[in-house]
Assembly symmetry: C2
């Protein structure tokens, strides 16, 4: 862990983006999600198809291009693609043949979100340095 | 929504990365998280500090550099930074003065994750096109 405080923890990726998968939940102290960061070299990808028992997954493509195998289809992924895959979805991911892929996968328990955003968040009087007083 | 099936939905970001915040949960049919994608131009950022009642947030920086205001500190963010902020954390984000920032924010209910990864996922016999038989 690179830096943490009473209410936060920060992960900084290694400067050399070696291929592989890193699970961040334990280091970050996550209690609502498990998040992994995967770096695939050109043409590399998951070695098997999988599904889930209880967790919904969301894949966020941060960099590169690739393919999502889902229930027998193969769909293109590009930088910025965000994909929800429900438990039963039979899934796998690979990088495109001519470039690498960096993606994050977020697991969280299906149906567990009860409120969000304007119902869950609230404004505070504190001001950050860039906010007018 | 760009493409969807019984077990998935895909969001594709607009090609022109206009500044602003897009909530993806409704379009993607998310049930475990709410996810927003934020694009800040150079030096732009949140206009207020906020905290949450029940949801843990994770910020993932997909591109650029910026700053996280957290409980009175201001910490640098760079491409690949992943930050857990617990409910009580007083937070705000801005882009660096000389470049823009693209980040995702994932909200999920604190303490809701019960199992993950090898306990929750299971291998299937299906093979994607790139997997040896």
């Amino acid at each position: 862990m690179d830096r943490q405080g009473p209410n936060y923890a920060i992960f900084e990726p290694p400067v050399s983006a070696e291929a592989g998968k890193t699970f961040l939940g334990a280091d970050l102290g996550l209690t609502a999600t498990e998040i992994s960061r995967t770096v695939h070299g050109q043409g590399e990808g998951s070695r098997f198809v999988h599904a889930h028992r209880r967790n919904e997954e969301v894949y966020i493509v941060a960099k590169g291009q690739g393919w999502l195998y889902i229930d027998g289809e193969e769909l293109p992924l590009r930088e910025g693609s965000v994909v929800r895959v429900s438990c039963a979805g039979k899934r796998a991911v690979r990088a495109a043949g001519d470039q690498g892929l960096v993606y994050y996968c977020i697991q969280a328990q299906t149906g567990s979100l009860e409120q969000a955003t304007f119902k869950d968040g609230y404004k505070l009087p504190e001001l950050a340095s860039w906010m007018p007083g």
